[in-house]
């Protein structure tokens, strides 16, 4: 943490959309020590036209707390200068934004690793669940957790 100033950690869970450029600008403003910012946005896929929407449920309180814990771990581990993680809930149509992670660091490797670390942990440890809604009007099931997401997380331990 440059100059003893705590790195900003921004965590939000919200129904409304986010503006990746605005969030990035807010995080980088005033951080002259930063040489790299990585911005990741996760989108809703249409799964080959099959899907009309994903509905995201969360555990209010714990979702924010868990993302906060993950972000603070990332700041510590990669010496980030700032991190923002914003996750949407509710119904999201294909093409819509689901999640945003912005990682700010002195150099690019820490920024890439920080963003990747936060996403890998968020997917497996933050209490969110996706339900599919199909284009033909029927309601699909809950999305199953993927082993590949567990493996992605394990590479950091």
């Amino acid at each position: 943490m440059a100059g003893g100033v705590p790195a900003p950690v921004v965590v939000r869970v919200q129904r409304e959309d986010f503006d990746a450029a605005a969030e990035t600008a807010r995080l980088t403003a005033g951080s002259a020590a930063a040489g790299a910012v990585v911005t990741f946005t996760g989108l809703c896929r249409d799964e080959g036209g099959r899907l009309s929407a994903l509905e995201l449920e969360h555990y209010p309180g714990m979702a924010e707390a868990e993302i906060g814990r993950i972000c603070r771990t990332a700041v510590e581990r990669f010496s980030l200068l700032g991190i923002a993680a914003i996750h949407r809930v509710g119904k999201i149509a294909p093409g819509g934004n689901i999640v945003l992670v912005v990682a700010l660091a002195p150099h690019r490797h820490a920024a890439f690793d920080g963003a990747s670390f936060v996403m890998d942990y968020l997917k497996t440890s933050a209490p969110f669940w996706k339900k599919e809604h199909f284009a033909d009007g029927s309601q699909g099931g809950w999305v199953d957790a993927k082993d590949s997401d567990d493996r992605a997380r394990e590479k950091w331990s």
Binding site: Y59, A63, M119, K123, S125, F128, K131, W142, V143, A145
Partner: protein
């Protein structure tokens, strides 16, 4: 009384999002809690059928099934997470 909260298909199968229950003294761990709840009815037995996949959080922090739940104000049960 302990507040229990349920999410996603655990919530749908049990048929409610939350409830307050008195836990017997013998229920000391997360695994004990799952076994106890499964005796409360078919809907619980169905929701918690595959015990190992159920995630448990005590006061909004993840715990392992063999960890104590003593003193918990709020215990959450939910399926593996699929956010991001």
């Amino acid at each position: 009384m302990t507040k229990l909260v349920y999410f996603a298909w655990v919530r749908e199968r049990i048929g409610k999002g939350e409830e307050e229950i008195d836990l017997p003294a013998a229920v000391k761990t997360g695994a004990d809690l799952l076994r106890h709840l499964k005796t409360r009815g078919e809907e619980y037995a169905h929701a918690l059928e595959h015990e190992k996949v159920i995630c448990i959080a005590v006061d909004q922090e993840h715990v392992e099934h063999d960890e104590t739940i003593a003193g918990a104000r709020e215990i959450a049960l939910f399926p593996p997470m699929t956010g991001g």
